[in-house]
Symmetry: C2
Subunit: 143 residues, 2 copies
């Protein structure tokens, strides 16, 4: 798996983007509304991403089914993450007062838009996962 070529030009562009994003923040002071700390990190943890991917695959999912699909997640953490994702507007929660009660979670259009970026990153991770596993083995055998 050949890595894309990284040019000096790309590095300069990346640095400019970072400067634009963080330039107004004084490094010596606590960041106020940092897009990484206060926005992105709430939705890019392992469980949130797996939840969003499942909701990107199925049109809608109920609590227990989601719990089965996101293998290994506890009801407690699933409940917390769903609340966060709903709070930030990525997903919607609809209650159907049937018996027994039915609650459906699904991606909003906003969540779908975010999922596109998740997917880009996930595809990159999948593409280079073998390489990363090799890197790890090399590192671990040296250290």
């Amino acid at each position: 798996m050949e890595l894309e070529t990284i040019t000096e030009n790309q590095k300069v562009k990346a640095a400019k983007k970072i400067k634009k994003m963080f330039g107004h923040i004084d490094y010596r002071n606590p960041p106020e509304v940092c897009p990484i700390r206060h926005i992105m990190s709430l939705a890019t943890d392992k469980w949130s991403i797996l939840i969003l991917l499942n909701l990107g695959f199925f049109p809608s999912l109920r609590f227990n089914r989601l719990k089965r699909y996101v293998y290994g997640i506890s009801a407690k953490v699933l409940s917390e993450r769903l609340k966060n994702l709903e709070m930030d507007g990525y997903i919607s929660r609809t209650i159907y007062p049937e018996v027994p009660i039915r609650v459906e979670y699904e991606l909003t259009d906003f969540g779908q838009s975010f999922l596109m970026r998740i997917l880009d990153m996930a595809e990159w991770s999948e593409k280079y996962s073998e390489r990363i596993i090799e890197n790890r083995q090399r590192y671990l055998s040296k250290n």
Copy 2:
């Protein structure tokens, strides 16, 4: 800030990508080498992302300077994250046996390639951060 239009077609494409990525994994069994769990999640936590962004801005950084720039990180966690990022091949660590000792961290080309995806996501987060904050306030005032 107008949201991009999400079409049914986009949703179908996203679902296909997800299926391709996870299709081989049986939902009833523990995932083996899941690109999200075992690759991506090691580099997409809050601190790792802030480290990578700083190394994308400065050509290289030493431990204590990085600690100052990544505001709020403890030496312990910084040290752990740098080891992980080095292990997976995103950054390099070079020791200069001067007095006092000098250790320089910098992005590898592989890390730079990953940083591009981080940046795409960070730019999305920044673009819609106001909207997310509004979502939060609306949610919190209702609940």
